[in-house]
Each structure stands twice: as C-alpha cells, then as structure tokens.
Symmetry: C2
Subunit: 132 residues, 2 copies
C-alpha cells in the first residue's frame, strides 16, 4: 500500500455520490440499473463512478446473466486505513516523503528555513515532488 494507492482511495471516497454508493454496496451487491434508480443520476454517471471506485480497488464486480453486480471491498478499506495510521506513526516516513531526515531540521524556523532553502537550490525539485 503505497501513498499513491491511498490517494486513490481517498479521492474515490471524496464525492458524496461515491461515498454513498460505497456505503450502500457494503450491504449487498447491486447492479447498475438499481444504483441508477437509487441515486437519481444517469446510468453512464453510475458506470463512470463505479469505474473510479474499482480503480481504487474499493469494489468488486461479479457478472450474472445480463447483470453486473458490484459490492464494496470492506476488507481493503479496513486495511488501507490501518496502514495509513501506521504510516503516521512510522518514524522515518518523513524521509520517504520529502527526502530529509527529521533530525536535519532544527526547530528554530529561521535556521530551518535557511537549511531548506539551500537544500532546495542544490537538489533538483523532482526529488521532492511526486506529482499531484
């Protein structure tokens, strides 16, 4: 579970529609035509949002006759949140994320900013950035 996967999960759950769909599909599998009527958006909108949830691995699908049933992957949610909370505790997460050791930076913001500015000029910015 890298941070890109977490980003996708959080992004998938950041819309009201997808959050409600996720909370619904945890109860039992639903097909697209049911979801379309429950949430009062067009069928393509449902499909598109299911695609986003699926890309985040938050739902699974199962074809049955002419229907496709989608259901929430509850285990993934639990484990993702758990791993995120672990990441918060992890002492060296700082290094992985910004390429710095926490001990490199004094608490005094004046000194800290000087160090960072120098570092910024030396290092290429792509070492620090991971896109958006």
């Amino acid at each position: 579970m890298d941070s890109k996967k977490l980003e996708n999960i959080f992004g998938a759950l950041s819309s009201s529609l997808r959050l409600r769909m996720t909370l619904l599909m945890v109860k039992r599998p639903f097909c697209v035509c049911e979801l379309e009527n429950i949430f009062d958006v067009s069928q393509p909108a449902i499909s598109q949002n299911l695609k986003i949830l699926k890309a985040a691995n938050l739902i699974g699908e199962k074809r049955e006759k002419q229907w496709v049933f989608y259901s929430t992957n509850k285990e993934l949610l639990s484990s993702a949140f758990g791993e995120f909370l672990e990441l918060l505790e992890k002492e060296d997460a700082f290094i992985e994320i910004v390429g710095l050791k926490i001990s490199d930076l004094p608490h005094d913001p004046q000194k800290s900013c000087e160090i960072l500015q120098r570092k910024k000029e030396v290092l290429k910015s792509d070492l620090l950035q991971g896109g958006n």
Copy 2:
C-alpha cells in the same frame, strides 16, 4: 461525524501534496515558510492547501512570534476512520443514505429495479440526493 465531514476528510487527503503535508506535520509542527521550501510550491499554494486541511479539521495551528505552526490532528484521523468503519457495519446506514430499507428490495434485480423506478417517480429526487 456525519458523512459530509468524512467527505471533507477524504477530499483533503486525496491530493498528493496534502497527503504528504499531513504525513509530515504529524512529526512536529511546521511553519509555512518551511513547508514552502520542502514541497517546492509557492507560498500561497501552501497556505491554500493548509486551509483545506484545516477546514477538514485535520490540522491545528499555533501562532508563535511571527510564525504560524501547523500540526496534524492525528486523533481526528483515527476517530474518523474508526467511525467510517463502524458506519460500514451499521445495519440501517442504508436507510439514512438512500431513504430505503434494505428489506424493501428483493435480490432479484428485475423486481428490485421496478420497485426503485416506481419509488423514484413518487419521491422527489431531493430526498435521495445530498449534493456533491
């Protein structure tokens, strides 16, 4: 913790920059000028993203001399995720979210869709929608 608050939290964590900022500020408080140099975006971009994190209550701020120090509200994250997982288990979450009892819907998608379509025509859509 209603679903709107969860939405804000997930939205706040759905960008790479804000996710990394959150993981960083859990280690110790940081001021804007430090963050600006760490993440190689402009100072206004940092302030704007801090504002989003703060609106989701994910960070707290503490003024000290001319600096404003921001730090991650770790407890909120734990409790938010916990409450979301509880919501997934909650039997009647379905009712709150879509205004229907799960027992109203047969598993047979053909019958289920018919019921939903009738319900859709009867009920105003604003009972089912919560915006995006």
